[in-house]
Amino acid sequence: MSTMYEVLPGPEHFLPPAAASMGVRLPDPGQAHIHGKIVNEDEAMEVAARQFLSAKVPTIFPGPLVLWAWNEKAAKKATAIRHLYETIKESVSPSQQAMLIPMPDYRPKYPKINPEIEINPNHPNLTIWHNKIDACMFVGVHCHQANLSLKIIRGGTYCYTMAMCAQAGHEDAMVSFRDATADKIMRLADWVKKLKGSVEPPKD
């Protein structure tokens, strides 16, 4: 099946197709994908950094795999994520608002989540809408829940989605990395620092 389908910001429609069913395939080690096209990892790093720097509300969504200190590896990733967030915060203009919003677990919360301070995979659009998030990155979210979130976001919002996946990546993200490590997250922070000042901030 040839890949004509591009994974682009939505709103696509209520039930966007799974990108995999449209022919988008996952990158091999050392690669990433942008809008469904396989590229080398550095190219995707640059695109991701530019997205963070040009968004009005660049946001990182850390999931349970990094929010909780399960082991040393998880704790290192948490440190790297915090560093990435601080780097984005320092690198954007005052009109931009960088955010770090947790996805602490996956339960359908009652009566509903507080979209100001958390995101839930069953209705991630609430957090995106509430905070007017236009670029986000998921990291440390179990793959099934990340896929669910990415599809809902693509379906109902205009947010640009990125995935820093510790496994094989996500077809449903607009940019997806694979085999995420603390070092890889730090490298992305370096890209943000490197491009600081060279990316035009968003227009009001």
Partner: protein
Amino acid sequence: MSKERIKIAPEMFEIMPSEYQDLVDRATYGKEGRGWKDIGTSKELIEEHSLCAGCPESMAFRYILASLPAPEDTVMVGSTGCTSLVFPHVGVHNIHSLFGNQNAIASGLKRALSVRFPGQVKDVVVLAGDGATVDIGLDMTLQAWFRQEKFTTICFDNELYANTGGQESGLMQKGFVAKMAPVGKTFEKVKLPEIARESGCHYVVNCTVSKPNLVEKVIKNAIHVAREIGPTYLQLYTPCILEIGKNSMEGLQEMRDSEKPTERFAYKEYVSDEAKELLTELAAKEKERKAAAKKQLAEKQLAGKA
């Protein structure tokens, strides 16, 4: 076994919603002698629930979660019904099974946990309604008991299918007319406690949840006996106030009325000889622990005065 299992990454602590911070700071995971009296002074393992106001099932849920001897090493297996609306809000591992197969799931789970964590205590507790336990899942319930599976089965008996509008269940009392059972029940309430005893359960109790200290005692007994000896069964009356035409405030009185000596939820207990021996041993240990704690407190106070 303690809160060491649930540490938030330090860099992420401040961004976590307060209920998670509380769970780490103020919950009673790992606390020796935890029980219903911790309710109100510590973080409960149940967040806001979605049951009706005044629902006795919500009280039962709170008492049970407060009484689990080792919540961090417990997996609860639920089934379809009102309980499945609560499980997403509890701070204990849980599995939602298909309607009726909860005891089959629990059997496999308990065995898998024994293989995966040899030598470690891992409790499995089934919590399901009367429809799942006695009607749809009776086969799985009984087979688990016949096989002497080492876990506790708790039935929240509200005597009908409350969640779907009031259909007749096997545990409904004879003659009762419900919204979706207009003719009235034509046969007797199934005597599951007696069936449990005959099927090999080592600890069986039939009671209401009007007295939290009693609920705590039976929960702890049932889990300890299941851990060491074999299957245990608790049938707890948690009336559905909506389906029996009561108001929010009347749930407690309904339970009190139903536990009178001549009523169907008069306290009934069966303990096998093996279980009796174990419970006597545990009671002696608990007495020792309490005496030691009392002594320690007195010494501390004395030292403080000096």
